[in-house]
């Protein structure tokens, strides 16, 4: 009865006078958007009430949402009272600290802001206890509880570890004769050591592998554990079932060594079990059939050998067949020839594939019922192959129509279908048209859409009428987008990346795009976009649930550069500053000859628009062969993607360069011992490479223009640099790389010298340019102009190794007016590369083709990464 009365209140016709949300000031603004579903001045709708509760619950922040109503003078007074969930804010340990908080978090897999429901805590406690058991505390007991406070809840683990169990003995049983001394050292943990189950299991596996390596391919090692709680001691027993020592023998046709080795490995890795032995049969039969032995048969048996059990493979290859001739009969014109060629080994699978391809080609020409039979005699020798085609009638499309009860989206209506009147009828085209229609209607908010092709043929099957019948289902609009899992990140950061707006149709492609954009922020380690109520008709709310990544990242690295030799770097990044996806990163690199310090602040949204801006300050110091310099300054940079692979970068730089230890002062304008660059620069980058570290196809083009002026506080010069590289795969193992670089600069102003500042000049020579020379050796003082072109052939030698041959030419000129193609330097060389996790490690030897007096004939380079 009470329930009925309450329902009367819920569905009362009394208008809502006020809606109050019981939440903190900060949450009011955020949650109000959901509560505003309840309209003041109108009767309270049970459905809307329910929706409000569901929306608030979907944020993941509340364990209950209580809605109360009370009659007031003006109408119903509604109070919405969300009750916070116990969201994890910290982990604490009570009792002995066998695990620290960080380790505890890893063991329990508890995530920040995860609700601490009793079942979850029980599981977490069990995980901790199991972890302690794994360390030898076999009687460990762990109680986990949630202690609530203002900001969430702490997970408190009360640990009672119990005694540490130690190994009393660990003998081996069932060992084959003579193996005791080889196997006993592999036993772990040793008597007296703490018992750790994982170590004992790993030891058993090591024992098994050792037995396999000496021929006991069927070996199994099991572990028996007996715990004596009164002494806290564990008795271990490694029970070895070695089985007989095995070997493989081949009888009949001699097989290639590589195939035999492969078969032996297959059997050994498979524990010489029945399925592994059968797989070996099949592997050999497949290899023989690929050589034309159409009736090849391989069987196996087990024989007792003098010292070992022998698995004998009987290889009966049967006669080899070769293709004598290939004919295709009764085919309409335009059908391509089969891939099977005369004099090749006759392969049944190849013939079947050819027949399938012919059928596909015929279908593409409009022969919807085409069939192809392969006729070839049994046995071996040179055999003619006949493909007999039964094309049937060619069908043309008479009429195409789309029957849809809802208007087609603009994109779908504008797109011309593949199936068109007057063209050959192709089932595949119809399927593609159907898929295209389904995709565009799904994007227009019809997630359940079905498109049924209906094909009507005329009597002689020469004409087909194609009708695509659209069954749209209900149109779904986005009701609310609920954000869940945010702790430090502000809602605006997520909402500006979402391509899903409330009131718009629920589009699958936009949903995927939103997920991709959120992923590319790098702020979240988990992102899930789900429908809150998939059963709802008309309008559905989406829940975007995220799990935030740690704020601070740091890393270090060891590197190598020809000039610096070994260098060490460390970087530290603090992300998501102020919850707005801003970041501050610092980088430091030191070597015996140089150092670099860099700090960068990044703002992803400039003035409310998606426009990244970064501000960097740096200090760099380097000792080069012919001078040294210290440089420091600041850069403001912004970049914009004009197309998926085209980027425009604009920056403003202010930098001071102090050049010293100049070995040839006559080449360097005295005024440039210290120089200042102040001014804007711009770069356009087009990058279509498939892999920046190891490109095999695509190209990379960039053009830079830098301006500095005395009126902006720097020296006056204009400098441009263009570089381009293209990559093409000539063969499955061969890649051709081409590169060119052109640099030109000049100073201007009445009192300016002719030469660019030292550190801003162009240099050539070294491991990344004109490799016949050492670093900067082409013209040690550098110049205002540079030309370079190079080509390299890269040949893969396997998974890790490759080799290369290259030729390069270029030069550096004092002034732009000195630039000439008649004074180019030429070098050529060869090298090897090893693919490492750092990138390709490269060793090159290059020779000067037009050596000048007093120059070394050749140079070695060792570097990381390709020259271009």
């Amino acid at each position: 009865m009470t329930a009925l009365l309450l329902l009367v209140v819920a569905l009362s016709d009394q208008p809502v006078a006020s809606v109050r949300l019981e939440a903190g000031e900060r949450d009011q603004a955020r949650l109000r958007r959901y509560v505003d579903e309840i309209e003041v001045g109108r009767p309270l709708s049970a459905l809307k009430l329910r929706h409000v509760v569901e929306l608030l619950h979907a944020t993941g922040e509340f364990e209950d949402v209580v809605v109360e109503t009370a009659p007031g003078a003006q109408g119903l007074e509604v109070l919405v009272r969300p009750i916070p969930a116990p969201l994890l804010s910290a982990i604490r340990i009570e009792g002995p600290r066998f695990l620290d908080e960080k380790r505890l978090k890893t063991v329990t897999q508890l995530r920040d802001r995860e609700p601490l429901w009793p079942e979850r805590l029980e599981r977490a406690g069990r995980d901790v206890a199991l972890s302690l058991v794994g360390r030898g505390y076999l009687e460990a007991r762990v109680q986990a509880a949630a202690v609530r406070h203002q900001g969430g809840a702490d997970a408190v683990f009360q640990v009672t570890p119990g005694p540490l169990a130690r190994v009393r003995q660990a003998p081996l049983s069932g060992l084959p004769h003579g193996l005791k001394s080889a196997l006993e050292p592999l036993v772990a943990p040793r008597p007296g050591a703490p018992f750790a189950r994982a170590r004992a299991d790993a030891s058993a596996e090591r024992l098994r592998k050792r037995l396999v390596s000496v021929g006991y391919w069927r070996a199994a090692v099991s572990l028996e554990v007996a715990y004596d709680p009164s002494r806290a001691q564990v008795g271990l027993l490694f029970v070895v079932d070695a089985g007989p020592p095995l070997e493989v023998a081949f009888a009949g046709e001699k097989l290639p060594r590589r195939l035999r080795a492969e078969v032996v490995k297959l059997i050994r890795d498979g524990g010489a079990r029945g399925d592994a032995l059968d797989a070996a049969d099949e592997r050999m039969e497949t290899a023989l059939k690929a050589r034309g032995h159409r009736t090849a048969r391989v069987t196996h048996r087990e024989d007792s050998g003098p010292t070992r059990l022998r698995i004998v493979y009987e290889v009966a290859p049967g006669p080899a067949a070769r293709v004598a001739a290939v004919r295709v009969v009764d085919a309409p014109p335009g059908v391509p020839a089969p891939a099977t060629r005369p004099l090749a080994a006759l392969r049944e699978d190849g013939l079947a594939e050819d027949a399938r391809r012919l059928v596909r080609d015929l279908e593409n020409q409009g022969y919807a019922d085409a069939k192809v039979d392969v006729e070839v005699a049994e046995g071996g020798g040179d055999l003619p192959v006949l493909f007999r085609v039964r094309a049937g009638a060619r069908t043309e499309v008479a009429e195409v129509s789309v029957d849809s009860p809802v208007p087609l989206p603009a994109g779908a209506a504008a797109r011309e279908p593949r199936t068109r009147a007057g063209r050959a009828y192709r089932a595949r085209d119809v399927a593609l048209d159907r898929d295209g229609l389904v995709a565009s209607l799904r994007d227009a908010g019809y997630p359940q859409v079905e498109v049924v092709p209906e094909i009507v043929m005329n009597a002689d099957r020469s004409q087909a009428t194609v009708r695509l019948r659209v069954l749209p289902g209900n149109r779904i609009e986005i009701d609310h987008v609920v954000l869940a899992g945010l702790n430090r990140t502000r809602e605006a950061v997520l909402r500006r990346e979402l391509q899903l707006a409330e009131g718009e149709p629920l589009s699958l492609s936009r949903l995927l795009d939103s997920q991709r954009r959120l992923g590319s922020l790098g702020l979240f380690q988990k992102i899930a976009i789900t429908e809150m109520d998939p059963e709802a008709e008309g309008k559905r709310s989406l829940v975007v649930a995220v799990e935030e990544s740690p704020l601070t990242n740091w890393g270090w690295g060891l590197g190598y550069a020809e000039q610096d030799m070994l260098r060490f770097s460390v970087d530290l990044t603090r992300r998501n500053l102020f919850g707005m996806d801003r970041s501050l990163s610092t980088f430091a690199r030191v070597s015996f000859k140089s150092s670099r310090l860099l700090a960068t602040f990044r703002e992803p949204y400039l003035l409310g628009h998606k426009q990244e801006l970064s501000f960097s300050t740096f200090r760099e110091e380097a000792e080069r062969p012919y001078f040294s310099f210290v440089r420091y300054g600041a850069t403001v940079q912004t970049a914009r993607n004009l197309a998926p692979s085209l980027k425009l970068i604009a920056r403003y730089t202010f930098q001071l360069t102090d050049t010293f230890n100049i070995k040839n002062p006559s080449q360097v304008g005295r005024d440039f011992a210290s120089s200042t660059t102040a001014g804007p620069s711009t770069a356009l980058v087009h990058d279509t490479r498939d892999d920046p570290l190891e490109p095999k196809r695509g190209h990379f083009v960039s053009a830079d223009l830098q301006f500095s002026s005395v009126s902006l506080g720097g020296d006056s010069f204009l400098k441009g640099f263009f570089q381009g590289a293209a990559y093409a795969r000539l063969h499955s193992h061969l890649v051709l790389a081409l590169a060119t670089r052109v640099g030109m600069g000049r100073t201007f102003g009445r009192f300016e010298p002719l030469f660019l500042p030292d550190a801003d000049r162009f240099y050539l020579g070294g491991d990344y340019s004109l490799r016949g020379f050492k670093l900067d050796q082409v013209r040690p003082a550098g110049g205002n102009s540079l030309l370079f072109a190079g080509t390299e052939l890269r040949w893969d030698l396997g998974k890790y190794l490759s080799t290369a041959a290259f030729a390069e030419s270029g030069n550096v000129y004092s002034l732009v007016s000195d630039t000439t193609l008649n004074d180019l330097r030429y070098t050529a060389g060869v090298g090897v590369r090893y693919r490492s996790p750092l990138g390709p490690l490269r060793l090159d030897w290059a020779y000067k083709l037009n050596r000048r007096p007093n120059e070394d004939p050749s140079t070695f380079h060792f570097a990381i990464g390709h020259a271009f």
């Binding site: 329902l7 209140v9 329910r50 209950d64 809605v67 109360e68 109070l79 059963e535």
Partner: protein, 202 residues
């Protein structure tokens, strides 16, 4: 120095009962007592999805059960329907839905006006479950002649004037089939519950 202890007269005045008219005036002048009623809340969460008080009340009314029993049934229905909705054979046609909805409205006509969308949702859920059960479990139910004979003998072993086996065989077969089907459904629900994360709010 005045004493902090109340005098005897003060104590007597304090203990004197308030006259009835004064009580009446106070009652009338007092602000109205809060008559706030809970109209919606989350009573349970099943695999992250909330079960609401209004849903429980609706089911309790439709089935004539207590709210506690209705909550348990609703959790089962949620779990079953989630499985059922993955199977296209369990999809509910609009005509079927409309027919059952009309029957349910007839049944509830004397009572309150629940929102139609809620009733429709309930009907769709229950129809989907029934169709799933018919598709998945009904074909597995087999009642052999031996089982029918055994049940006949246990029913009428000592009864005088028992009907012939052939007269009641179909009835017994149907009863046994229903029993077996129910056992399968119970096992299925038990399995679904064991795999689900269910939290009931106090």
């Amino acid at each position: 120095m005045p004493s902090s202890q109340p005098t005897r007269a003060e104590v007597a005045r304090f203990r004197r009962p308030w006259p009835a008219p004064a009580l009446l005036v106070l009652t009338l002048l007092a602000p109205p007592t809060s008559r706030a009623e809970v109209v919606e809340r989350i009573v349970a969460v099943v695999d992250g999805r909330p079960v609401l008080l209004s849903e429980v009340r609706l089911l309790a009314r439709v089935r004539g059960e207590t709210e506690k029993a209705a909550l348990s049934a609703l959790i089962d229905e949620r779990l079953m329907f989630r499985e059922a909705s993955r199977l296209s054979q369990a999809a509910v046609a609009q005509e079927e839905e409309a027919r059952v909805l009309a029957a349910l409205k007839d049944k509830l006509r004397a009572g309150l006006e629940e929102p139609e969308a809620e009733l429709r949702r309930l009907v769709r859920r229950q129809l989907g479950i029934v169709k799933y059960i018919e598709f998945r479990f009904r074909p597995q139910v087999r009642v052999g002649d031996e089982a029918v004979r055994g049940e006949y003998e246990s029913r009428y072993a000592n009864a005088g004037g028992a009907p012939s086996l052939s007269a009641v065989a179909e009835e017994i077969r149907d009863a046994l089939a229903e029993r077996e089907l129910n056992a399968k459904i119970e096992a299925w629900v038990k399995d679904l519950r064991s795999q689900a994360e269910i939290r009931e709010n106090p």
